[in-house]
């Protein structure tokens, strides 16, 4: 195993990786931009190095600087996390060329799966079903003709994209040219390539993905599925495992297809094969994410495997410690992504300082947070604050636990989607497991936070807090030595009166 590793990321995933390393006795080096000074991941790592200004291009995407820090600090390996450089084949190559271990797949696998057009072709060769589409490089007229042949609606997707970015649903021919334009520009900005392709739009699909692990000794296994159909802006907000819709037979077929997909590209390390499942329960290869996923914890809780540690062991050359037959799903896990965003205003990102975060704590409740009390959310990075993950003996149990946990979660200072998530997990369709990728548009258009009148207790608390900060000259002379807890004027420190007897 490695003795020192650089975490080329930020936020909750950097924290997650550092924690796994700490358990394994691996020393860690964090990197941070000027916007992330004293962020949680910098506090947890053994060392933290400033790598540049807030803009990702000058910091977390700056490959040379990251490798320079890794070499200077004596690291043996680099973990890319997800996002940023995680699916950048050139970065994986540069890391390896510098004599470091890249905790991830071979560059060739990243490159092939990163080119969505090439990936579709390779999957078709390996008998993994793909969605009908048009991969040509023609002009607008050829795209128009191809879209007509496929039938509207169609999807415009970036060949270099993924995770819903650079993707547009087009319902009418008239809208296609503008959509191609926007998709190209977004693709060029986000992925450095403006190549786009068309796919037949699968109506009301489910998004179900399979986790795979492959070692350097030819073993490939899958760790079952994650149902990720609850999305907004094509990005997932709730994931769970098992999927409420798969039966044993479909699960076996899709698992075998996921393993075949990984084998077809010589995959090594952790990866995820994403499928669409249509109303007739046919499944199609969507893309492969050649990295750890945001939603990996639901698999960890249901299968009982620490995926980050598995990644590290595989990268260190160790064989997988289990066979497919030894893996099984137990109970049910659900993850909610806690975002700084406003669900009542089209999920627009919110920024600001989290003046207080109080996370739920309880049996089978896990919070993977990158932002905590005092941290500032800027517009530079993804607005995810934390992932809330719960496990239950069965789906109903997990649902109840998630509803409870969301009811405990307090974030003050920025607008979040917590209130929205509370309504989603209690919605009858979600409770039934009747979830497709249009779930949010279908049931939550025009959603507003419940109109809660202000309880008197809230006004009482506010007024007593004012009282706490009122200088003694203004208040009636109430004796207070003023030497406790650094607040000389506070009546709250008086050691009389109320003691709730709670610990």
């Amino acid at each position: 195993m490695f003795s020192k590793l650089l975490v080329a990321n930020r936020g909750e995933i950097a924290v997650r990786i550092i924690r796994a390393c700490q358990e394994l006795g691996i020393r860690t080096v964090a990197v941070y931009s000027e916007a992330d000074a004293r962020a949680l991941h910098t506090l947890l790592a053994d060392e933290a190095h400033l790598i540049g200004p807030p803009s990702p291009v000058e910091s977390y995407l700056h490959a040379e600087r990251l490798i320079e820090v890794a070499l200077k600090t004596g690291c043996e390996a680099v973990h890319p996390g997800y996002g940023f450089l995680a699916e950048n084949a050139a970065f994986a190559e540069t890391v390896r060329a510098a004599g470091l271990t890249f905790v991830g797949p071979p560059a060739e696998a990243i490159r092939l799966m990163g080119d969505k057009v090439a990936a579709r072709a390779r999957m078709a060769q390996a008998d993994v079903p793909v969605v009908p589409g048009y991969e040509g490089e023609g002009d607008v007229d050829e795209f128009l003709a191809a879209a007509r042949a496929l039938g509207y609606p169609v999807l415009v997707k970036a060949a270099g994209g993924g995770g819903g970015r650079g993707m547009r649903v087009v319902a009418r021919e008239a809208d296609l040219p503008a959509a191609l334009d926007t998709a190209r520009r977004e693709a060029r900005n986000a992925f450095g390539s403006d190549r786009v392709y068309l796919e037949k739009y699968v109506d009301r699909p489910r998004h179900i993905e399979f986790q795979v692990l492959a070692d350097h000794h030819g073993h490939v296994v899958h760790l079952f599925e994650r149902e990720c159909s609850v999305q907004r802006r094509h990005q997932k907000i709730i994931e769970e495992s098992p999927s409420p819709v798969l039966d044993e037979e479909l699960r076996r077929h899709m698992g075998a297809a996921a393993v075949a997909a990984a084998r077809a590209v010589g995959y090594v390390n952790a990866g995820t094969v994403e499928f669409l499942v249509d109303a007739e329960r046919r499944f199609y290869f969507l893309e492969m994410n050649t990295r750890l996923q945001v939603e990996h914890p639901v698999t960890e809780l249901v299968v009982g495997v620490d995926l980050v540690k598995a990644q590290l062991a595989i990268a260190a050359g160790e064989p997988l410690p289990f066979t497919q037959a030894e893996l099984s799903q137990r109970g049910h896990a659900i993850e909610c992504r806690i975002y700084a965003e406003d669900p009542a205003r089209g999920f627009l990102p919110a920024t600001g300082r989290v003046v207080r975060a109080v996370e739920p704590v309880g049996p089978w409740v896990r919070v993977d947070a990158g932002i905590t009390t005092g941290d500032t959310i800027t517009h530079y990075y993804d607005p995810m604050i934390a992932k809330l993950i719960v496990w239950g003996e069965h789906r109903d149990d997990a649902l109840r636990r998630m509803a409870w946990a969301l009811d405990q979660y307090i974030i003050m200072g920025v607008t979040t989607n917590i209130t929205f998530l509370r309504d989603v997990v209690r919605h009858p369709a979600f409770q039934r497991g009747d979830i497709t990728t249009d779930f949010v548009e279908r049931y939550f258009v025009g959603w507003r936070p419940p109109d809660t009148s202000v309880p008197d207790e809230v006004l009482i608390a506010a007024a007593l807090a004012e009282q706490a900060d009122t200088p003694p000259a203004v208040r009636a002379n109430h004796g207070d030595s003023g030497e406790r807890a650094g607040d000389p004027f506070s009546p709250w420190n008086v050691a009389d009166g109320f003691r709730p007897g709670r610990v």
């Binding site: 003046v355 207080r356 009166g497």
Partner: protein, 162 residues
Amino acid sequence: MEYHYEVNGTRYTVRVDQEEGGHYRVTVGERTYVVQAERREPGVFDLSVGTRYLRAYVVQTGTRRLVALDANTYVLERLREGRRQRHLGAPHAGQLEAQMPGQVIAVLVEEGQEVDVGQPLVILEAMKMELRIVAPRAGRVRALRCQPGDVVDRGQQLVELE
């Protein structure tokens, strides 16, 4: 002491009197409560109101008060001595604002240019998301208030239409 708050357009007056024994008599409108309280740490208050034992989190910034109770966060505006605070009027109808904080990546029109309804004027980017600011109606661009590269706040004016 009396405190005045406004929440969602409704005004509340809260009167606090400290009594013997360290508890408080608090009046909210017509209702009176006997409250005991302890500050656990700055911003964290344990209250007992009747038989209810509560933990409230309070943050004070300027005249704004954030109070979290039972995991709901309420935003209160502290008012001075019962006088209603002036509210800013609705933005002028011709002004177009940033709907989210972010960076201006493109300005697609020029001052003086005639635009159609729905025509994209400015492209904003934040957190990997692209947002087009489009003309809400046809008209002439009176003034541009941003340029590519600008970092803008939510609500900041970007374009003025005649």
